[in-house]
């Protein structure tokens, strides 16, 4: 039994490395303003420990071009930035390879920098994987996303209306309760002035108050409705 388990685990362990691959992550899109700088991040996941020969490569393909050019390479612990191409003097390596971060910083953006940046990371002996691309979009003014302001206006106005209606009904409820409390206290004072009675009659005021209260409320309500009755009566 034990030998069978040992054999199975050895077979599994030898099979596992063939299914692993390196996974490279970058963003999907980056938006930036003309003249500003943008940080393109690249990191990777690998089953192996970080090797000393880890490499990062960035390449750039303009929007209308067919092929890409290489703009950055990190190998053997040294970064090599572009010193001849479109990004000379504008590119800086801001990543930390010890933390699997191979990000670059591009300064002073221009409309010609629109395009696709591809990051390829390798962690020997884990070298099988796909590079990952991030699109750079350069604007002169960052556009408002569709629907953000619409939703904000609709939500705030509806919330305000619901709040006002809730406050109106709350005020009506509180006013009705205050009228109830006032009439209850008046009736109880009236009963006390008449003198002390038996216990059964003491329970009387509670029932009295509710009966009296309902008629008082009805009277008050119909009074309010009839008060403004100076205009024509239509249906």
């Amino acid at each position: 039994m034990l030998s069978f388990i040992a054999l199975a685990s050895i077979i599994l362990a030898s099979l596992a490395p063939q299914s692993e691959a390196i996974w490279v992550y970058t963003g999907w899109e980056r938006h930036a303003l003309v003249g500003s700088e943008v940080r393109l991040s690249c990191s990777f996941f690998s089953w192996r420990w970080l090797s000393d020969d880890v490499t990062f490569s960035w390449s750039y393909k303009p929007d209308n071009a067919r092929s890409s050019i290489s703009i950055f390479h990190y190998a053997g612990g040294q970064p090599y930035v572009d010193n001849k191409g479109p990004f000379r003097d504008r590119l800086e390596f801001v990543g930390n390879p010890q933390k699997r971060d191979g990000s670059i910083l591009i300064r002073n953006l221009d409309y010609n920098d629109n395009g696709t940046f591809t990051c390829d990371a390798k962690n020997p002996p884990d070298i099988v994987g796909r590079p990952s691309s991030v699109k750079l979009l350069v604007f002169d003014k960052v556009p408002v996303r569709a629907g953000v302001i619409t939703g904000a206006i609709i939500g705030s106005v509806l919330g305000l209306v619901i709040l006002i209606v809730a406050i109106y009904f709350l005020m009506r409820f509180l006013v009705a309760r205050r009228v109830l409390n006032l009439s209850v206290s008046k009736i109880e004072k009236g009963k006390k002035v008449k003198g002390k009675e038996g216990s059964q009659q003491r329970q009387g005021p509670v029932l009295y108050a509710t009966l009296d209260q309902s008629t008082k409320l009805k009277a008050a309500g119909s009074e309010k409705k009839k008060s403004g009755d100076s205009k024509k009566d239509k249906k």
Binding site: P143, V144, R145, A146, G147, V148, I149, T150, G151, A152, I153, I154, V157, L158, V161, G221, S222, K225, K226, D229, K231, D233, K234, K235
Partner: protein, 157 residues
Amino acid sequence: MLFLLLGIVLLHIAALVLLFVSTIVNTWVETSGSSADLWLNCSTTNGGSHCDPANTSEWIQAVQATMILSVIFSVISLFLFFCQLFTLQKGGRFFFTGIFQILASLFVMSGAIIYTVKNADWVPESASYGYAYILAWVAFPLALISGCIYVILRKRE
């Protein structure tokens, strides 16, 4: 009289239909071969029509929001009218109905005004106003009159 009630409901529904059409149909401005706003820019080239999403500036989004709010308030007002018709006491006024309908008319007015003032930012000079824009302007006084009638109205019987 029943005819009066029917007339008022018809006026309300007419204003509501105008609001719906004006909000949904994408023809606030028209040029030859294309129409635009509030939601799509559609152009018909020889072949078929092709639609892009409308400009996403803040002012178009404000107009979209006010038109949607006016439709919502008008629908709520119609619903409240039928509620209050059966629950109001004798001599009562349709306050809530009238208030919501007047709010709807105010929102349509502000949406149409914002569009009129600010559309030069994204609309080319050669474009002319389409029928959805005119319907929005027509819906505003209809809704306002309808709301005022509700405020003045009293329930009999």
